[in-house]
Symmetry: C2
Subunit: 228 residues, 2 copies
DNA sequence: CCCCGTGCCTACTCGCAGGTAAGATTACTG
DNA sequence: CAGTAATCTTACCTGCGAGTAGGCACGGGG
């Protein structure tokens, strides 16, 4: 999968610290995403990184610190990609649409990052769960804010925040789950998957079965929208 | 949390094998749900079960077998609860609604089961993932069938199966995520949470922000529906 | 009353993986 | 070219937890 796994015949070439740290983090994301936190061994990470074990400890600290570093880095990358993709000066539905496209675009282009973020971090009982819950919380908060701005929810007007927050949680979960499904059905382009979720959460099944679909405003049909 | 943790002072009372097996499985679900598969130790499970470690191996086999037994048992219980709750002779929206209510009702009444099913099993690379993927696949298949029966999806008419399957995956994920959120915000009754998800996936945000909500047919307002 | 089998326990073995001590090697600097 | 400091390594310690050997109690049948 990953291209540059040095063959580790004898000694590794001398490199500046910053470069090594990056290599190590790359390798760690790769191994963690394939095996999960516990099943991944520091020996294997060091091997993939093309380096010996004590370097891990010298540069990135303990296994937990290394994992947290991976989570933080990949979370930052993903949030940046999404923030970069959202068109904040557009109406709510277009904002949501652009956010979904950015999200699925990132997942499609960074499978290991997504694996390590979603599957692994969410299930370890340690301080990583915090890290991940923080990211998830920020995402939910963003969506919730977007929802609140879209208008009031008439059925539970007093508890608007809880209402929006729970709906945002459901939406974020739907996105996560659909991303996982997509990994098993990768033949479809990101835009199609994003459009499906957009239609689900914006139109609802009730509209979809009646033939009403949502279209992006710029005359692109959702089924043919291409990525970025 | 769990009531009957024998204090293990000395020897345990002699019991027939079937009863012990059940006790052990209960304890295992409890410990696995709190700590996860790897972090849970057979010593702790035996302690919680009020029994010594060799009994685990004598009765339930290895750690992996024990975990698989837990997954299978809890998955069966959950699917039975949902199947029991769904009103299959009703129109699609009511079927979905009754299914959601049954699901959230089960989660609310069986937190550890849910934890062990959702959080733990999904992240272990072993044969449990299969077990869990099987459950998840059955759930998605059920929802997908329901969707297909509800009508055709007009925007991608040729790929109706994929369309329905991906939407079902999104819906199942939304349910899982909302259930997790609910664990952190347990003050709301199951019916309210279920109604929120029902409104989201049936009406969509587009309708919700316009003030259109979904109501169960029996004149209960969704915000006030009580559980069971 | 004594025997015997099933249920149960104490007390170990053993391998694996996180983490480290101490020394070898290489690039840069004067 | 020699000194120095950062980079990198081999080879080890150590604790933890899965899994097991072998023996102790307790209740039912002769």
């Amino acid at each position: 999968m990953h291209a540059e796994q040095p063959v580790r015949t004898g000694r590794a070439k001398r490199l500046p610290r910053a470069v090594r740290e990056r290599q190590i983090t790359d390798a760690a994301v790769d191994v963690f995403s394939r095996l999960g936190f516990h099943a991944a061994s520091m020996d294997e990470i060091s091997e993939v990184a093309g380096i010996s074990k004590p370097m891990l400890y010298a540069y990135l600290g303990s296994k937990e610190e290394l994992f947290a570093t991976c989570i933080r880095r990949e979370a930052t990358r993903m949030m940046a990609a999404i923030a970069d993709g959202v068109e904040t000066d557009q109406p709510p539905d277009v904002q949501l649409w652009s956010g979904l496209r950015a999200f699925f675009g990132f997942v499609g282009g960074n499978r290991p990052s997504w694996q390590v973020l979603h599957r692994q971090a969410s299930s370890q009982g340690g301080p990583f769960a915090e890290e991940l819950a923080d990211l998830r919380g920020r995402a939910i908060g963003l969506v919730a804010t977007l929802l609140v701005r879209s208008g009031e929810f008439p059925d539970v007007p007093r508890a608007g925040d809880k209402e929006a927050e729970s709906l945002a949680a459901a939406l974020v979960g739907a996105g996560e789950s659909l991303a996982d499904w997509w990994l098993d059905n990768p033949e479809e382009p990101a835009g199609v998957v994003a459009a499906r979720l957009m239609n689900l959460v914006w139109m609802g099944f009730g509209d979809l079965v009646a033939g009403h679909v949502w279209h992006p405003p710029s005359r692109r049909a959702p089924g043919t929208a291409e990525q970025d």
